[in-house]
Subunit: 254 residues, 2 copies
């Protein structure tokens, strides 16, 4: 099995670039850390360039992958590529999945407008996948999908649901043309979500933690909805609100 012992190794230097959005976008690869996530990515048949482990015991026998892709590295090398306080001793270099862009034609969609917190984005992806949505549109100005915190918060759901980067304002007419009702979320000039029927198809737009969905986007929606606040809170956390609305629009039917 191949070994890398120096942090100055050229491959290690290249992989380190994947810790930044710029490096990831350039190469189309990202870093995946921890056993559970690697397993989810293998299940989803993502392409692996390499799996780095600090020793052979870290290799799970059920991992369906050519043996030559494993590389034994020192703890220092692994640490260079790890974002965790206590690394699990395994980091993979993986190719970003690609999804057909044939959206806005059918199904149930979550559209994310400029959400900034990686934990929120990751949790929203996890919930959308769990709710069985067709796909997610990650609007411009949202945090990067392959940010390590996002990836970890999805718990691997990002490998199981199509996630497309796009301009939400440009996509709304496509959803409408396909007969898919577009719901914005807003605190003003909106109806309580309980006034809406559950939907076989929908595009649900949720927005930035502080500012919500951009006004120009809300103006194009078929209907804007809100979740009633019965207490003194000003708003709900965007991942919680998305969960309530996705399950309301979708699962309540079952």
């Amino acid at each position: 099995m191949k070994r890398i012992e120096s942090v100055k190794n050229e491959q290690v230097k290249n992989w380190k670039k994947l810790l930044t959005k710029k490096g990831r976008d350039k190469s189309g690869q990202f870093l995946l850390e921890g056993f559970h996530l690697i397993e989810e990515a293998l299940k989803a048949k993502l392409k692996f360039e390499a799996i780095l482990v600090t020793n052979e015991d870290k290799i799970e026998s059920q991992w369906q992958i050519e043996r030559k892709k494993f590389i034994i590295v020192t703890e220092q090398v692994l640490k260079e590529l790890s974002e965790m306080d206590t690394p699990q001793g395994v980091v993979a270099i993986v190719q970003m999945p690609t999804w057909p862009e044939q959206i806005a034609t059918t199904g149930q969609w979550l559209l994310i407008d400029r959400v900034q917190d990686p934990g929120n984005i990751g949790t929203m992806i996890r919930t959308a996948e769990a709710a069985g949505l067709t796909g997610i549109v990650l609007g411009e100005g949202s945090v990067d999908l392959y940010n390590g915190k996002v990836v970890r918060a999805t718990q691997g759901a990002l490998f199981h649901i199509p996630i497309i980067k796009g301009n939400i304002l440009e996509l709304i007419p496509k959803f409408k043309a396909a007969g898919i009702p577009v719901f914005g979320t807003a605190l003003e000039k909106a109806s309580s979500y309980t006034a809406v029927e559950s939907q076989a198809q929908f595009a649900l737009i949720v927005g930035n933690e502080g500012q919500g969905v951009e006004k120009s986007i809300l103006a194009e929606c078929d209907q804007n909805i809100y979740i009633p606040i019965f207490g003194q809170a000003e708003s709900l956390n965007v991942a919680v609100a998305s969960g309530i609305l996705m399950y309301y629009l979708k699962a309540i039917r079952s």
Copy 2:
């Protein structure tokens, strides 16, 4: 206005102890950081021992509090008491609110069993307050309520809803005796939440991120419910799941 310039000041040393659960429990005080949270605590009429600011400009004119409680401190002193990467220049020392223990007699309750992530606990408190619940029981083994990350994630909601520490297993009979139905959450031997009617009163129990609600607790519930997973995810984030269930049990009626 009083000034403190040395990090070795005896008061500063004492306040630093409030960064630990032990120190908070001993004194009954906690640290509150940032403008929004301080404002929420003032609105809720919590007792302030002091508000430390790095300069007088940080004092908001609408803050209803005796002037003698403000103390001007150096940035180093403030940093000693701050948990944020970029402190806002204001930290308050505040007395923990107390709530009457007359629970299990009426209303809608969220019971939290051994949830570990501060962000999850804080978000759950924020959602429960927004949903207008009567109160929250923080079960033994959950993360400390006055952990700075919990407090910040609540966005101040913890000052507006009764939160009682207690033993969930011991409280269940009290809820039942008061005619309040007790719902556990579980992935097995449970009904879909959509099979349950919305409820004027309820006690909803949610549990640990990895293990869920403890089995001995589930055995005592009137009914155990789950949220259907339509995708490949193993579970939902506990704060999202709590939000879906609280709003379903409560708000769907309106």
